[in-house]
Symmetry: C2
Subunit: 293 residues, 2 copies
Amino acid sequence: MSSPTAVRRVLLAGGTHGNEWIGAWLVRKWQHDARSIQRQGFDTAVLLANPPAVERGVRYLDQDLNRSFDDPRADGASWEERRAREILEDFGAGGRTPVDVVLDLHTTTANMGLSYIITNLDPFNLRMAAWVARREPGLRVYAWIDETLPKSALSTIVPRGATIEVGPTANNVVRGDLLLGTERVVGHCLDFIEASARDDWTPQPEKLEVFMHLRSYDYPRDASGAVTAFVHPKLQDADYQPLGPGDPIFQSLDGETLFYEGEAPVYPVFVNEAAYYEKAIAFSVTRREILWV
Amino acid sequence: MSSPTAVRRVLLAGGTHGNEWIGAWLVRKWQHDARSIQRQGFDTAVLLANPPAVERGVRYLDQDLNRSFDDPRADGASWEERRAREILEDFGAGGRTPVDVVLDLHTTTANMGLSYIITNLDPFNLRMAAWVARREPGLRVYAWIDETLPKSALSTIVPRGATIEVGPTANNVVRGDLLLGTERVVGHCLDFIEASARDDWTPQPEKLEVFMHLRSYDYPRDASGAVTAFVHPKLQDADYQPLGPGDPIFQSLDGETLFYEGEAPVYPVFVNEAAYYEKAIAFSVTRREILWV
């Protein structure tokens, strides 16, 4: 383990984006009845991260809360910056009730199934990912390590944790299959933390498939910034499927097809995520790696 | 034909709901290049119905524009009521450039595929539906005749027309397959209108499968109105599939399953549509009928 610190408190967060209802609903469930998230050896706190955004069914009020944890100011002009500071003062390393692990629950409009996003390669995180992947066939592990998420996401306020990202789903609905899948993944994580804290815990090295972030691609746009092409039907829903030169990626409104020209094979993720039009991301690409963890 | 009036002008509307992008994108395309929607014998106008809602990526600003056409006031308090009046004064029966047929383009988060919604059984509408269904395998015709839509939807400002409803898709994205499908359906409608205006047009009676609206069901809610159960995974995505007594319809957060108890067989539509949580509709049910049209 990278950190010898025992896990004393875990934070389960939902509603970080107010239009992603599965996390918000699970937080509501656990606030009412915490039995399913209780384990031996540590406490589990639950947090509805952005209540007014959940109330209004919008991703955020002023700015993306999940890009706001890189040194937010308590007197910041945006609600989410102030809220990020509050959360840090409650649960961050120097906070009132600091946590050791954060699991943050999200949904996506992309066909990412059950995805487990890590933002560093801390051995604790890799071993937890492997534990969950072994128990949840089909779960994919995506290491989103770039200039943005690892510094500013809620799951990164401490080194240990993950973002659980499930899709495809529209915003402002609850899909039962994905809610139940999210609940299973959280349960596996809590089981891992409980098991790893036991004195007789002797982890055996095992293989883990990890999709390592490479870069993102924007939509074609005109001079005014308006998007002029849609994701090609052959790339739509093809998250985690191999993509290579000559494969179609966009189709313009007047019928022109655009093709991928980069390195290969890569594996796209977040294909046509609704919230990323404004972030200039039509899809990201990853490299598939097998790690011993 | 119920109406002997020749079709002189057709209105193609998109962006009636500002977060349903396929219609808005097609309107933008046609405003730039109208060749694909031009036919002999009539004019085709295009309308971005709710521009500020499209700009903000929201369904509406003040109220649902597609429930606002039942005698809206020009000095109404809501933007959409005033906008509905403007549209009527432009394109309604007594307007400046009245239209004879309205096609309004929508998307849904429900698994409705390519759906063709009519709000009356006008023979022109049924024959146009049959023409399109014959050319677009998989298209479903839904007759939504209840106390709401037939009076207040944009497609009902004149007796002839349809709402084209495609899904499943998240809001605020463009799925290429559904955009291309919508474009094909619009093309078939325009072809029908062109063909039906010819002097030598002699329609032959044919069968048409129509899903006739029966009623809608709300989500289970607590005393405060909060939804307490999600659509059961077996009903999710099961639009137009037979539903009968004993079939699961909801699952509560604490694991209880609720079952359908009504008449059978019925065929659900709009299962888990994001915009209908606020309208108290978890799904609607229809009766399948075969009409000679």
